[in-house]
């Protein structure tokens, strides 16, 4: 499989990245080279093979539903770009 420039633009939009128009052709070429590398997978017969998500085939460990975390709001918000009264500030979303 290979992708065209329009598809690269669409994927970039989904990933919230913008690609400079002067670079989009190069990015597309590089992308297609990687697709050629990964498309080699299609030569491998994987019929009746179960996908492996965790290398130990482990299931998600559950814990008792009780409060464990302490409230560290102020400490955690110190690293935020912009805050006010314990809220994260972002550009206006609704008029």
């Amino acid at each position: 499989m290979s992708v065209q420039i329009d598809e690269i633009r669409k994927v970039a939009k989904l990933a919230k990245l913008s690609i400079d128009e002067s670079q989009v052709a190069d990015v597309c070429d590089g992308f297609n080279q990687i697709l050629t590398l990964v498309d080699k997978m299609q030569q491998c017969d994987t019929n009746n093979i179960k996908p492996l998500a965790n290398p130990h085939d482990a299931k998600q460990r559950l814990r008792v539903d009780e409060v464990t975390a302490t409230n560290e709001r102020d400490k955690l918000m110190q690293v935020a770009p912009e805050t006010e009264n314990g809220l994260f500030l972002v550009p206006k979303v609704i008029d």
């Binding site: 994927v11 990933a15 913008s18 080279q33 590398l37 990964v38 994987t46 492996l52 770009p81 550009p91």
Partner: protein, 487 residues
């Protein structure tokens, strides 16, 4: 005191014997970093004042005597991927250049409880994506053996720092070879434990089903001592393995007599540099004298590993790196005109080229209509790779293979060709897909550049891999060779 030669075990003993204090040792490492790191660039942040304060505390404990923690007073360097409270944790990205971690990674908590001393945070490929340490916002790190060559990556700064004698040992992380490959390129011992043995809590996520913390040291004994301090179940990491703690040094002095070592045919191909092949032949002769036998094994899905990895890792990365949105922490662009503009410009301005490339690949592979052809297919291949190893381990105790096809390549040699860079990881990637422990140790030199060989074990067989490496290091002195540094 020749600090650049000192191993963890020698420092342990010397501190207890009061040959020098932790403060003296820490000062000596800081001075060496100051004198020589400008040309190597192995540290992103040097935490001199904190280090000296921690060293003084450790000295007070040592003066009191009694039962001291194993790493008490020992200076260490940490890959800048581990969150360190109050200290910049950048992951070598512009995105986190302004990020001071508000908490410690579990690995750091454990090392603080040991009263070890953090010298600073080491350079790496941005978000651990790379095999050369050239993808760093803070500039490439150089190989102390030859400054025109890469130290490997992504834990390149950790390996370069230990090779240069800036620290006796360093933490690293390994998602596709990021501990073993730089260890091989820098003449060091690097251990990637079984997936889930070292907690990932507070370790900035790249590809969560592959990421594993580990150690880069001067020898196998040090790796065992260091692993003892950082391994163990952690309820804060949902994939941490629930099992009793073990002493990874316990088998070090046992003989290798009777062990069967598997040699995977697929790892001994023409693509391996002839001097690396020769070094491994020599290493086999050493091991044979120690009573091991060799057996040919097959890992027939090896040629699919890189393809599967470059779907699984970027897919998980694209999901993990969604969190960098300029809202809660990290970089935010100037004067965003709306929310969409803030997300897009913050990410576009702050992520490096390789990180963006992998996010794009991952986003594509996970997008509607492509999931089965890519991510699901890659996960099926992942199972085949795991089964290959299980089959091989039915007839051998562990596997011996080259760590890399070539010694350290030149800076800039592969930056224009991402696929050529990806192929560098051909011998290390399968191990991560299968979640296995593996170790790289030095076994030769090509000119002035080190050669590494890799031991791969069954899940949770770290102690046996360390035993084999330690026994090999009793009979050889490749691990004692060091580069000479010029100012």
């Amino acid at each position: 005191m020749n600090i650049e030669q000192l191993t963890l075990s020698e420092i342990q003993q010397s501190l207890r014997d009061k040959k020098f204090s932790s403060e003296e040792l820490t000062s000596a490492y800081l001075a060496r970093i100051k004198n020589f790191d400008a040309s190597i660039n192995s540290f992103i942040t040097v935490t001199g004042e904190l280090a000296l304060a921690a060293a003084k505390q450790a000295d007070a404990l040592i003066a009191k005597g009694g039962n001291l923690p194993s790493l008490c007073g020992i200076p260490l360097a940490h890959k800048d991927i581990f969150c360190t409270e109050g200290v910049k944790t950048s992951c070598a990205s512009k995105m986190l250049d302004n990020f001071t971690a508000p908490y410690n990674a579990t690995v750091i908590e454990k090392l603080n409880a040991e009263h070890s001393v953090m010298l600073g945070k080491t350079n790496m490929d941005e978000f651990a994506m790379g095999s050369s340490n050239e993808n760093s916002f803070y500039g490439a790190c150089k190989n102390p053996w030859n400054l025109e060559h890469v130290p490997g990556g992504s834990s390149g700064g950790s390996a370069a720092a230990v090779a240069a004698g800036f620290a006796p040992a360093a933490t690293g992380t390994d998602t596709g070879g990021s501990i073993r490959q730089p260890a091989a390129f820098c003449g060091l011992t690097g251990l990637k434990p079984t997936y889930g043995v070292v907690s990932r809590y507070g370790m900035v996520a790249y590809a969560s089903s592959l990421d594993q913390g580990g150690v880069i040291t001067k020898n196998a004994e040090d790796a065992a001592i260091f692993l003892n301090a950082i391994a163990g179940f952690d309820a804060k990491d949902s994939t941490s393995i629930e099992k009793a703690d073990e002493d990874y040094t316990r088998l070090l002095t046992d003989s290798l007599k009777g062990k069967v070592i598997g040699l995977p045919e697929e790892y001994f191909s023409d693509q391996v540099d002839s001097q690396i092949s020769k070094a491994i032949e020599d290493a086999k002769a050493v091991l044979e004298k120690q009573g091991v036998t060799f057996k040919s094994v097959n890992l027939k899905t090896t040629d699919m590993a890189i393809s599967a990895y470059y779907i699984i890792a970027p897919s998980e990365a694209s999901a993990n790196l969604q969190r960098y949105d300029g809202v809660r922490y990290g970089y935010r662009c100037d004067n965003p005109k709306d929310l969409e503009d803030m997300y897009t410009r913050s990410r576009t301005e702050a992520f490096g080229e390789e990180v963006k490339r992998r996010i794009l690949i991952g986003t594509y592979a996970l997008s509607a209509g492509f999931y089965d052809a890519y991510y699901r297919k890659a996960q099926k291949i992942r199972r085949l790779i795991k089964e290959d190893f299980e089959h091989a381990f039915a007839s051998c105790d562990f596997i011996l293979a080259p760590t890399t096809p070539t010694p350290a390549f030149k800076i800039g040699e592969k930056t224009k060709d991402p696929v050529a860079m990806y192929l560098e990881d051909i011998f290390t990637i399968s191990v991560n897909l299968a979640g296995l422990p593996a170790l790289s140790l030095p076994c030769g030199l090509k000119g002035d550049l080190p050669i590494g060989m890799q031991l791969i074990g069954k899940p949770f067989s770290e102690a046996m891999l360390l035993q084999a490496a330690h026994q090999f290091q009793q009979a050889t002195d490749w691990h004692k060779k060091m580069p000479s540094l010029a100012k």
